[in-house]
Symmetry: C2
Subunit: 595 residues, 2 copies
Amino acid sequence: MPGANPLLRDRFVDFLLHEVLDVAGLAGLPHFAEHGRETFELYVGACRRLARERLFPSYRAMDEAPPELVGGRVRVHPAVGPLWRELAELGVLAATRPAAVGGQQLPLTVAALAHAYLMAGNLSAYGYVGLTTGAAHLVEAFGSEALRATYMAPMYAGRWSGTMALTEPQAGSSLADVTTRAAPTADGHHLISGSKIFISGGDHDATENVVHLVLARIDGAPPGTRGISLFVVPRLRPSPGGLVPNDVEVSGLIHKIGWRGLPSVALALGDRGDCRGWLVGPPHEGLRCMFQMMNEARIMVGLNAASTASVAYLEALAYARERTQGRPLAEKDPARPPVPIVAHADVRRMLLRQKAIVEGALCLLGTVSRYADLAEHGASEPERARSKLLLDLLTPIAKTFPAERGFESNALALQIHGGYGYSSEYLPEAWLRDQKLNSIHEGTTTIQGLDLLGRKVVAGGGAALACFREEVLGALAAADAAGVEPAACAAVGGALDALVALTGALAQRGLGGDVEGMMAHSADYLEAFSLLVIGWQWIRMWAAARRLPEADPFARGIERAARYWLATELPRIPALAALCLGPDRSYLDAHPDEL
Amino acid sequence: MPGANPLLRDRFVDFLLHEVLDVAGLAGLPHFAEHGRETFELYVGACRRLARERLFPSYRAMDEAPPELVGGRVRVHPAVGPLWRELAELGVLAATRPAAVGGQQLPLTVAALAHAYLMAGNLSAYGYVGLTTGAAHLVEAFGSEALRATYMAPMYAGRWSGTMALTEPQAGSSLADVTTRAAPTADGHHLISGSKIFISGGDHDATENVVHLVLARIDGAPPGTRGISLFVVPRLRPSPGGLVPNDVEVSGLIHKIGWRGLPSVALALGDRGDCRGWLVGPPHEGLRCMFQMMNEARIMVGLNAASTASVAYLEALAYARERTQGRPLAEKDPARPPVPIVAHADVRRMLLRQKAIVEGALCLLGTVSRYADLAEHGASEPERARSKLLLDLLTPIAKTFPAERGFESNALALQIHGGYGYSSEYLPEAWLRDQKLNSIHEGTTTIQGLDLLGRKVVAGGGAALACFREEVLGALAAADAAGVEPAACAAVGGALDALVALTGALAQRGLGGDVEGMMAHSADYLEAFSLLVIGWQWIRMWAAARRLPEADPFARGIERAARYWLATELPRIPALAALCLGPDRSYLDAHPDEL
């Protein structure tokens, strides 16, 4: 009964938007002045309906019939085209973009939670949208007027789709090693030649054209990341006689284990010497341009992860309420009828754990989206600067926590379905496959850990961390005022102190020249920081829930999940901190032959 | 290059057998007197070869072409028949069974580690064997002479295969709710009618006949688990004119997400009123009979899990040594060539973590297999009784730790492969799918937690726990004598004390009438106990490795993994213990509407 799954819980999303994230406050900013609760609800409601009525019903069919390579072109599931057009019609592609470029000028906070329904319903169908918005946004931000007119406009309008073509077969995560060439010509374009791999939406037959945003190296550019430029490279390029092929060929189709409605392809650029690319932004600054979009791209991955965990959690909850099996520990009389499995404590544990992960992640994603809104459109320069620091700091966590713990949560959803969960007759296994990509694309978990500890928490001489500390302390004061249990606030406060002290000690180590020692446990540091950050979300939600009637099951559920997280996950921080600082060098010094 | 993967590391398996598990000592027992190091190595070597040369090369093909239901019969991959015959020829089916029934009378300790290669190479191909051995062993142990001659012998000889038909669609884990009927007849057999589901190997075309060991309820039997009997129900029954159909029909084929070379089917028994079953063991004692085989079945699942994690770990290690990408943190110069990813600390962390899980699990499985050997064939009654207590106590952990942590380990193997790991062009994703079943079949993780805390650790008024404590203390004394770091021994000793104290406190709670409070955190208890048990394995291996030359990379690797486990996982125990004893009732009291 896929239709019955709500994908996300409406009550929770509304609670987040209005009780925790104060989107009304955002509507008070000049940039969002045309908006208010009503337009927000209209947009969220429209996405909900589209997700439930159109996207989700196609999910399984798209998973079962992945793209095929036919005569050099990728053929996608026939549902993709119609879904794409409905998404475009709803204005999803330019939801957050300014009215001046045809957008709805919505806060990212609202769009993110609205789009979470679309991702939960059918992450592949949404994938085309996310990639296109990202590509068009790059042209909007850094492209010439001509490029904006030629490429951005058709993408935002939904006539053409877009991709991000960064990765190369030999380079993987190491963008410094990009070798795709761009040879200048006298005609204003460059001739591009090289290979790209894992290009999502890199070819398909659901739109008239595909526009690639390609990283390449202009002849003579310096080596490393400072010699990479950004180009628009369309599959078909406009010419006086209409669109003509631009020497972009599909050299392979990757058989992904999830996201199977969205093709991932290898591209050969310029094999016939006629692949034209147009420079976007200044030469050699392609990576800087790309990185300005990175936060949004990573928030998107985190949202995908949280949404994929959400739909599976709600499926498992519904199953556990209906499926009868066994009897309570204290009443084993076999003459009594079996009980729904939700009556068993360990099943409730698995469900509450999923809830704590899913809703904690969604709250964090709403929070960082709000910082993104304020970083761009905040009322004052100090507010914008502060929000940018917080956004940068929290992005690695907003990307990784939902991906890693979402995978755990998805596995629990499968587990609750028992033997049925291990079959493709039920959906949890498909969502588990989908989820695994999120720890890999847009920067692996390893990369996020290095980014958090090596760059973000030490940024501005600790300014970002200081802002973060103020935010958590502010939330604790508010929670205390709202009547949240003092011991709970104290636990989060203690975890905050521990993380701040840990960060200081590791930064000292790095400043003392032992960068390797500082970074050795970056994965454990990322984990510890995440536990605190999610604890902070749960304290905020608990405080907000205090304003609801005490007997309201929704409010009680929020409090339970908050208590669960603080009791179960927060106490793991001291051991992780000890590991980061401790003497263990077991893997750091290991020779490959010892592994 | 699948052929290059060694599946398990020979050096490690030999180290386990001879340096840690003292299989020579087993050969000193009368039951194993025909054996010695030479015959053990012969058998292990033969299994290694068969696994590498025949089973593993068919793995991917069997995964890609799962069984099909054609005209009411299951058609399996054409590789299954030949592999089955080679396995039978090697004597795998009766490797541990007495010579009197045609077996090789090998210790389970040796057979388990030898068979781990078969499982790592192709767990579906081995699956037919494991199920058949289990079914034949039940007939051997509890069947009449006539049943042994008719059913056991052809199964051990590899002419017929066997299954365990316990689960029913409505009952799942709750065997008390088995409703399959057995109506007595005057002809010595019963007429069976009912439905079974998730029957692995429940039908196929690779052997002449399939023999089901079926749980059913004789008319008039008491309700619950004490009214269940065990029957032999063949697909074809012998008659004077040869084999004739026995009214066992395939009512459905489950589309499993892994183990795709082994069919899982739903069976309809007796739809035409002519399904004959022959009682095995006394009436109403089927579950007791079945449970006598449960330890071995669960060790088998744990072995499957450890093997599946092993093959993926070795694949990831080989990949990490070859795949170049990026540069060390301290030497980012893009003009230098990229390094193999094993040079990155976080990749080494992921590899050492896999090693710690895989080899810790294999050592535990060897250890419980050794207790199983001693429980049956030990030199004295006290030794047999003591070994049985330890076997019973450790079985839930030997089943669950490899399943749960093996899944984590398999996910890390995929992660190390990056974007390639997310495609079915590479094998890690297939092993990840395979692994997920192990937390579900043969008793879910929830069931194992309840079994450990509710039955095993409190068995005999704490006798099992006392034996366990002696074993760990003995290992610590030996490690100390071997020169293992005193702090490491102290850490394991501290964890042991903590677990013993925790168990006492929880048992008190249960004896005081609060069974629900005692059992609320059975999952956390299982986890804490597992961390200690694996720490104990690593201390033993570390001690054994002290006898090797200090510069031997193998010995250094063992020490590194031991240090990693003790530094990273053991310190999690206090927080888990606090949770078990603490006041958190977040999920225990949760109403379903609050989840």
